[in-house]
Each structure stands twice: as structure tokens, then as C-alpha cells.
């Protein structure tokens, strides 16, 4: 399967995707963006699925920060290094350049201050990997246009009044935010509703229509 490059001249991801056993395909895409043996901080590490994947398949020194007590306890009981904490607050306590990569998978939209969180990630690590559901996906747009209702999909299963996802954005919104930061996009992958990568090399607006999820690898400038 051919992969679209984020920007002309940028590297294409390796093939040979291993799907997680019953897991989320975006985690595999995220893990592939991380160089083996790196020091990694996973912000919003859930029950530790990605941490374990990074430790076992990439030999990473992977640590997590997770808001939910259940997630933390599950992770620690699995022998993972996970800290109970709030990304919106606790990232400030990490020193500069403490990690090679800081990962935010499916969490950006749940933070109170997405821009601040991204800035902190790029301060703590030289690279940041961000995956998020794309609110610009055609089905979301159709829901809004036809039904006049906030979309509820497999990736966004919770009604607007209960969802922890308070800062939805589209792929183009995200790209615009990155332009405001001191960072550049090194790689980008969009996944369609069946979890396959959007193959065609197309401009952002096409991705923004077809990608149900997006994964970005950002590098701090300078």
C-alpha cells in the first residue's frame, strides 16, 4: 500500500504494518513513527497498550501520564511506568528535552488547552506524535449538513453533552495550528473509516474529507 507523504520530499513510512491484536490501528501507526530504543512519554496513556507496544516491539523506555485512575492502576499493575496526572497541568513539571518523543494519541481533543499542550510536548521532547479524530471527515460534515446534529461515529461515539472531547478539530485546523508553533510536520498519515491509510497523494483538503483519523509527527524547529 502506498503511503501519502505529508509534504513533498518527506520520507514515506515503512510498509509491513502489524495490526494490534484487537487493538487500535492508529497505535501501530504511532509506534512506527518512533525510532527504536527511544525515550518516550505517552500523554494520555490509557491502560498502557501503546506503552507496552513501544517497550516490546521498539525497545523503548516508554512512560505514561494518564488522567483516569483505572487506566493508571491497570498500567502500573502491568509493570509499566505510568503517572496519574492531568496533561493540562502536569506537563509543566517535566524538564526540557527529557524525552526523544512525546506522544498524544487520541487525547488532543480532550485537553483544555491544546495549543499549550502541544507547546509543552515540543519542549519536553524534540519530536511529538499526535493522533486525533478528524472532525472534517465527510461523514461528520454530512451529519451536520443533513441532520443538523453533532456527529456520533465509531471514533466519536459519545454525545456532545457527555463527551470529554471538548476541542475537536479538523486536519486542516491542526495543520494551521502547527504553523503557529515552532515546529514542522515531518510525517503525516490519515486513516479512513476502516482503519486503512488514505493512499492517494492528495492535497490536505482531500485528506480532510477522507481521513477519519490523522497521525502527525512533528519536529521542533531550530
Amino acid at each position: 500500500m502506498a503511503l501519502r507523504e505529508g509534504r513533498p520530499g518527506e520520507p514515506v513510512l515503512d510498509e509491513g504494518v502489524v495490526r494490534l491484536q484487537g487493538g487500535r490501528v492508529d497505535l501501530v501507526v504511532v509506534a512506527e513513527m518512533v525510532a527504536p530504543g527511544s525515550r518516550v512519554l505517552d500523554v494520555g496513556s490509557g491502560d498502557g497498550e501503546l506503552l507496552e507496544l513501544l517497550a516490546t516491539t521498539r525497545g523503548c523506555d516508554a512512560r505514561g501520564i494518564e488522567l483516569s485512575r483505572e487506566g493508571v492502576n491497570a498500567g502500573v499493575a502491568r509493570g509499566l511506568a505510568v503517572v496519574q496526572g492531568d496533561a493540562d497541568v502536569d506537563l509543566a513539571h517535566y524538564p526540557d528535552d527529557a524525552f526523544d518523543y512525546v506522544i498524544l494519541s487520541q487525547t488532543l481533543q480532550a485537553t483544555r488547552r491544546p495549543r499549550w499542550v502541544l507547546e509543552q510536548m515540543l519542549r519536553i521532547g524534540r519530536r511529538a506524535v499526535v493522533s486525533f479524530p478528524n472532525f472534517g471527515h465527510w461523514r461528520s460534515r454530512l451529519d451536520l449538513m443533513v441532520n443538523g446534529r453533532m456527529p456520533v461515529t465509531d471514533n466519536m461515539p459519545i454525545s456532545w453533552y457527555e463527551t470529554p472531547n471538548i476541542h475537536f478539530c479538523t486536519i486542516r485546523d491542526f495543520v494551521a495550528l502547527v504553523e503557529l508553533l515552532d515546529a514542522r510536520i515531518e510525517k503525516a498519515v490519515a486513516l479512513d473509516s476502516s482503519g486503512h491509510r488514505v493512499r492517494v497523494n492528495m492535497p490536505w483538503w482531500v485528506w480532510n474529507l477522507l481521513g477519519e483519523q490523522a497521525v502527525f509527527l512533528l519536529t521542533r524547529k531550530g
Binding site: 485512575r69 492502576n73 502500573v76 509493570g79 505510568v82 503517572v83 513539571h93
Partner: protein, 406 residues
């Protein structure tokens, strides 16, 4: 912690027979001891040297050939070395048998577990009730004031004696957690992993205040006699019992006291319009006070509470807690409990922030419990699972063989 409610409504009025037994434990305990003699003194933070140091300890399990499977368990304020063995004074099971034992998370079939009575204690390690070899009399207030760091330095001497170079883990709750943090700061190369539970990197003003109330209760008892009560054959048991009653409240949560006792009356239909223990909670506290004086030395209570008060790990490192852990390779797992108001989660979070700032490998979890500070001594399934997971992973990383599958 016992939950039995005694029917006796009289105030504590006698130290009782097991107090004499407890007194004997100070010099000649039912535990192995190591004596360091005059030529190997312990240099104390107070600026003096303590010669003839004696340390009483218990071990559980066996060391492996490489002596790489040792876990040091540090006890809390009124605990002792009997973490997983019958207490010779109270006849009760060890204080941490929820976590320490065969097949338990601190698995004595797999690990060599060491627990020593703290410096300043009264169960066989040198403390104010020990006999001062210089005088042949109990130290009393001639015992220098000790600190958490002094306790840890004494434990390090014990480990040298036992031939343990590096610990797989140091674990403990409350004051035991303070020792864990001090271990990680003082001897980072000897501590592969650290499990501080329900603790803080410093004693708060509120906690110092509670301790001061307890000490004043002891010292206000006429039988304290300026700390020389042992020579006079008396003991300030009333004062110590009051100190214990006040302290015990801080170990529980409002919710746990309410669940246990509510406003229920003790064996009566109506209030007596007097000052008997009308309420079950009063009766319970009186019982706690009474049973405590059977096993604990009043001067020891002064010394050990003082050691906690003086604990401020950041102050020893230019006021920056992260400096205490700079460059540390130790893996940490910090645990707090939601209803613990003596060492609230914020105290643990401050430790975690410092560990993050120093780049240390740290896990942190706050366990949902209504049992207050004492939760670390009680059956808490999440604490069990976390301790097991953390130690398994540390043991694996330390190169120990995997646990046998149950």
C-alpha cells in the same frame, strides 16, 4: 488496626503486664540483633556520635546466591520489625501481612525481606528506653534526637552487616515512606526500586502540630517525670494514651469513622449525661489508647514523632526536591489514597513532580479508598495489584527469574 470496641468505659489507668514485656524488648528483643560496639559509631544529624548501636530486625525468605533479591521494608511511626511475624508483645500478626508473605506481592518465597526496628524505637533497636552502656540506666532524654536520615544510615549499617549491597526495592508507608525517599536520596546506587506509600517529602505544619499535641500530652502526665519515669518505676501511660487517641483520629477518615461508629451509643439506650464513653467512637479511641501503652515507650513516641517533624528532604538539597533525586536510576512507584488527609495526594504529587523534573522513572497512582491514612496497612486490592505489578517488573529489570505462575 483492630476494629473491636471495648466495653470498658474507664479511662486508661494502668500500663499493665505486657508493658513489662515491652520494656524487656528494648534491650533483649525476640528478634535477631546486631551490635556495632564502641568503635563503629553512628554519626547523627544532631552532630554527635552514637556508640554501641544495636539494631533489631526480622528477615523473611532467603537471599539468593547473588544476594540480589533483597527488599527492605520500613515501618511507620509506631510499627516495628514484625512486618510479617507474630508480634511478641501483642501476640498479633505482623503489621504488613496484607502485602508481605508467601505468594503475596512482597513474596517471601521469591524475595529476601528485611525489616528493622527504627533508631529511636522501643523494640530492640537503640532508643530512649534502651540501656545506656555508659550509665547502665535507660537513655531517657540523654538519647540524642534522631532524624529519618539517621534511621536510614543505621539501616545501611545493618545491610552491610547482612552482606546486601543493593536492594531490589525499599518499601514503606507513612514514616516508612519517608525512609524510602531518604534511602533513594542518600543511597541511590543501593536502591534499584522504591515504593513510597501514603507519605510526603516533608512533614507539614499540620502534621507537626498534631505531633506536638501528642508530645505535650505525654509530657503533661506527672508520671513522665522529665523523661526519667523508667528509673522511677512509673510510666506516663495516661498521657501516651491521649496522644495515641488524638493521633488515631488522623489515621482514619471522617467517612471511615462514620461508617464504623456513626453516632451509635456504647451498650446503652440513652446518653448518661456524664462523661463516660457514651459513644462507640469514644470507647474505640479509649481502647486504642489503652492497648497502645501496653506496647510502646512514651519517650520513644517523643523521639520518633520528632524525627518525622524534622523530615524535609528538599531542605537538605538547597530547597529543591528534584535535586534529591538528580541523576537517579531508581524506579519509583508513588502511591496515595483519596481519603488520606494526613498525607494527602498533593504531598505525593509533589514527590512525583520532583521525580519528573529530575528525569527519574516514576509511576504514581492515587487509590480510591475511604479508609484514610491507615489504608496502606489494610486490605486494598488495588494496592496489592500495583505492588505486585511494580515489583514483578522491577525484579525482571533487575535480572531476577520470573515469578512462578500460581
Amino acid at each position: 488496626m483492630t476494629s473491636s470496641v471495648q466495653q470498658d468505659n474507664t479511662p486508661p489507668n494502668a500500663a499493665g503486664p505486657s508493658a513489662a514485656q515491652a520494656r524487656r524488648e528494648a534491650d533483649d528483643p525476640h528478634s535477631p540483633v546486631v551490635r556495632f560496639g564502641a568503635r563503629n559509631p553512628l554519626k547523627l544529624d544532631a552532630g554527635v556520635e552514637l556508640a554501641h548501636l544495636q539494631i533489631a530486625y526480622q528477615t523473611y525468605g532467603e537471599p539468593n546466591a547473588a544476594r540480589s533479591n533483597a527488599i527492605l521494608v520500613c515501618h511507620a511511626l509506631t510499627g516495628d520489625q514484625h512486618a510479617a511475624s507474630l508480634n511478641p508483645v501483642t501476640g498479633k500478626p505482623g503489621w504488613w501481612e496484607t502485602l508481605v508473605g508467601p505468594g503475596k506481592p512482597i513474596d517471601t518465597e521469591r524475595f529476601y525481606v528485611i525489616c528493622a526496628n527504627v533508631l529511636g524505637g522501643c523494640m530492640g533497636t537503640t532508643g530512649p528506653s534502651s540501656t545506656n552502656p555508659a550509665t547502665g540506666q535507660p537513655y531517657g532524654l540523654d538519647m540524642p534526637v534522631v532524624t529519618i536520615r539517621d534511621m536510614v544510615n543505621a539501616q545501611a549499617m545493618l545491610l552491610d552487616h547482612l552482606g546486601i549491597d543493593k536492594l531490589l526495592c525499599v518499601a514503606g508507608g507513612s514514616m516508612g515512606g519517608m525512609q524510602v525517599l531518604q534511602w533513594a536520596a542518600s543511597y541511590p546506587e543501593r536502591v534499584f526500586s522504591a515504593l513510597p506509600i501514603a507519605t510526603g517529602a516533608r512533614h507539614s505544619a499540620q502534621n507537626i502540630a498534631f505531633h506536638e499535641v501528642g508530645r505535650q500530652a505525654v509530657m503533661a502526665d506527672p508520671d513522665w517525670r522529665g523523661g526519667r519515669y523508667l528509673a522511677d518505676g512509673v510510666t506516663p501511660h495516661r498521657g501516651l494514651a491521649v496522644a495515641r487517641m488524638a493521633a488515631h483520629i488522623t489515621y482514619m477518615s471522617d467517612q471511615s469513622l462514620h461508617n464504623k461508629f456513626g453516632r451509635r451509643l456504647q451498650n446503652r439506650e440513652m446518653p448518661t449525661f456524664g462523661f463516660d464513653a457514651d459513644f462507640q467512637v469514644e470507647s474505640y479511641l479509649r481502647h486504642q489508647g489503652e492497648s497502645f501503652v501496653q506496647r510502646f515507650d512514651p519517650n520513644s513516641y517523643l523521639y520518633v514523632t520528632r524525627a518525622m517533624d524534622y523530615f524535609d528532604l528538599a531542605a537538605d538539597h538547597d530547597g529543591v526536591l528534584a535535586n534529591a533525586f538528580r541523576g537517579s536510576k531508581t524506579r519509583f512507584c508513588v502511591v496515595s489514597f483519596t481519603s488520606d488527609w494526613l498525607f494527602p495526594t498533593e504531598d505525593s504529587r509533589a514527590i512525583v513532580h520532583a521525580l519528573n523534573a529530575s528525569g527519574a522513572n516514576v509511576s504514581f497512582t492515587e487509590i480510591d479508598s475511604d479508609k484514610g491514612h491507615d489504608a496502606f496497612l489494610l486490605h486494598e486490592p488495588e494496592l496489592t495489584a500495583i505492588t505486585r505489578g511494580f515489583l514483578d517488573s522491577a525484579a525482571r529489570a533487575f535480572g531476577l527469574p520470573a515469578a512462578r505462575q500460581a
